[in-house]
């Protein structure tokens, strides 16, 4: 296991490797994310994008390498501990609690009463309700608080999940394909939302839609076969011949 070095970056990934029965899904990967940056990861299917997010948030344990968040080694922490240091994660398929209302979905994500007995004693105070209503406003769901999450549209579920991250107040949000399945207008709203978020928080986004990527990204990382193919501003990456070869096509 390599030890990461101290950096000014919010997130520093160094030498990250994971293998599934010999297949290296992520191979000696290093990249760094600044505070308040929107980093977009792109790449062909099977490039290891989702796996990278899984590794950072602790869902998959790495074989080698280091992940440091605010100079704190988080590689061996458990998922809920990683959440507590300030990393939030949205999944590829919107995963909201379909049996619960939008309000309850957000309430569960509210970062208080996370222990068993804490949650037993948790009260729906004015502060909690206000916070939930504020977040609901930001994710365009103010009118849907009473609706069971199951009944939301696909795009609304994506927003709800983003909202569930926001209410945790993480410093780093990791979003796996946040606009998949959204209409054009929803995409625009989402782009607005993400830009708004980026004023205070850092984001790693996985996305395929190059137009959307160009709209939001500060920096783009292109993954291919578990390794970095290219990195830089959207324009730079777009014109990179290697990227065009393996991903964007001619």
């Amino acid at each position: 296991m390599t030890e990461g070095s101290n950096t000014d970056f919010l997130l520093a990934v160094e030498g990250l490797t994971v293998s599934f029965d010999g297949f290296k899904a992520v191979n000696n990967l290093s990249f760094y994310v600044d505070e308040n940056e929107i980093r977009v990861i792109i790449g062909p299917n099977g490039a290891g994008k989702t796996t990278v997010l899984d590794l950072i948030c602790g869902r998959t344990k790495s074989t080698d390498g280091s992940i440091r968040f605010k100079n704190k080694e988080i590689t061996r922490l458990k998922e809920h501990e990683i959440v507590k240091v300030g990393v939030g994660r949205k999944f590829q398929n919107p995963s909201v609690y379909s049996d619960l209302t939008v309000f309850e979905n957000l309430e569960i994500s509210y970062p208080k009463g996370r222990s068993v007995f804490g949650s037993l004693g948790f009260k729906r105070t004015e502060t909690v309700i206000n916070k939930i209503q504020e977040i609901a406003g930001r994710i365009y769901l103010s009118d849907q608080l009473d609706v069971q999450a199951d009944l939301l549209s696909h795009g609304q579920k994506q927003w709800l999940e983003i909202g569930m991250l926001l209410i945790q107040e993480p410093q780093l949000l990791m979003l796996d394909e946040p606009v998949a399945g959204m209409s054009v207008s929803e995409r625009q709203q989402t782009a607005l939302l993400l830009k708004e978020i980026a004023k205070q928080q850092t984001m790693i986004v996985i996305e395929h839609d190059m137009q959307f990527v160009a709209e939001i990204a500060d920096k783009v990382t292109v993954l291919h076969q578990g390794q970095i193919l290219a990195e830089g501003s959207p324009e730079k990456v777009k014109s990179d011949p290697k990227v065009i070869e393996v991903y964007l096509g001619h």
Partner: protein, 388 residues
């Protein structure tokens, strides 16, 4: 903003009604209409309701299907029985034994000294604590070992089932220490008070109902707290909950322990009302039957679980007394029918067909009060085709 009245948060009007009706049935209707023998029978069925209520939390809400609830029911029952057996085995009562003063089955197995783990059961206080704590500790150990390693679903069911099988073989095999397959029988008095009299039957029945309501209210509290919503959330989206910063294993362990403690109380109530405890409650078959009580009542309804335990047992007795051969057919069909057709059990039938009418009636009766819709709160159901 709507004011959040905590009492209303805790019990909605419908829920308050169902608790009241249950109380009416158990405290007034049944005691008035049944003779003491039948009431005693009902009391014993209610001891299974403790398990079923615990299962609503574990299985219905937490998605943890335990096929080993008999372990905890048995532990509670045995803890109670051990105390009563020691009281029944006073040296005067056991003069004909080779070693007077120890339980008869120990004497038959040529044990001459009370085993160390029996000693503390001379104390009623210890026994009462053990009834709750012993199952909780065992459940905690199983829960931590399994849930921390993310064993769940089917695997958890099979492993708990195996543990129940192990415990049964152990109890039966170590008969010198446990009474073996006979169980601990011939219990007579509690602090000198005859436990088989009609008065005792009444007292234990009401005690049983009282404790059941205590458990129901605790369960209701858990269900209505954020813990309850986290449990529902966990059922479908375990990862999401984890990435909202919760340690899922702790929550699962918690409900499992609560379910175990309830079961332990149920077991003890059985021992008191029946006058003996038998390993036949510990094994795989009774454990699965307990799940059935819960499923029939509706795996998400606390009150439903009580009715489930009552109705299945009453049906079993009536059928068993009249057409014993048909009973297994009927029971089998009930299982299949409930699972295929009514995944929400009787409670589901009620909430689909009757609840709206009852609500309407209440509105008319109470007139002015606008229906107190549970704000922002969902009504959980088990959907066909949802992973449970």
């Amino acid at each position: 903003m709507m004011p959040f009245n905590h009492m209303k948060d805790y019990l909605t009007r419908q829920e308050a009604l169902s608790f009241a009706v249950l109380a009416l049935v158990l405290l007034v209707l049944l005691p008035l209409s049944l003779d003491v023998m039948r009431l005693n029978q009902v009391g014993k069925y209610l001891s299974f309701a403790f398990v079923a209520v615990g299962l609503v939390l574990c299985w219905g809400y937490g998605g943890i299907l335990s096929l080993g609830q008999g372990i905890f029911y048995g532990l509670g029952g045995y803890a109670m029985a051990m105390y009563l057996k020691l009281e029944a085995s006073s040296p005067q009562n056991t003069l004909i034994q080779t070693t007077p003063g120890i339980p008869d089955f120990m004497d038959w197995n040529r044990i001459t000294e009370l085993p160390w783990f029996w000693e503390p059961f001379y104390s009623l206080t210890f026994a009462i604590i053990a009834i709750v704590v012993l199952p909780s500790i065992v459940a905690y150990l199983i829960g931590v070992a399994m849930f921390k390693r993310r064993v769940g679903g089917v695997y958890f069911a099979i492993i708990t089932q195996s543990i129940a099988a192990i415990l049964t073989i152990l109890i039966i095999g170590q008969q010198g220490l446990t009474g073996g397959i006979n169980g601990i029988t011939d219990l007579r008095t509690l602090k000198g008070w005859d436990i088989h009299t009609d008065v005792a039957n009444y007292v234990f029945y009401f005690l049983c109902v009282f404790l059941l309501f205590v458990c129901l209210l605790i369960a209701q509290f858990i269900k209505k707290s954020k813990t309850g919503r986290i449990l529902i959330a966990m059922r479908g989206q375990e990862d999401r909950v984890r990435f909202s910063g919760y340690d899922i294993a702790n929550f699962k362990t918690f409900v499992f322990v609560v379910g175990a403690a309830f079961s332990g109380i149920g077991g003890a109530m059985f021992t008191l009302q029946e006058g003996f405890m038998s390993p036949s409650f510990v094994g795989v078959v009774p454990s699965i039957e307990m799940v059935i009580f819960c499923a029939v009542g509706g795996r998400l309804s606390l009150v439903g679980a009580v009715y489930g335990a009552l109705l299945v047992n009453i049906a079993k007795t009536t059928f068993g007394e009249t057409f014993p051969e048909l009973w297994l057919f009927a029971m089998g069909l009930i299982f299949i029918g409930i699972v295929l057709g009514l995944p929400n059990g009787l409670a589901g039938v009620y909430s689909t067909w009757l609840a709206p009418k009852v609500d309407e009636m209440l509105n008319r009766l109470l007139g002015h009060e606008k229906q107190n819709q549970e704000i922002y709160t969902s009504i959980p159901i088990v959907k066909q085709g949802v992973v449970s």
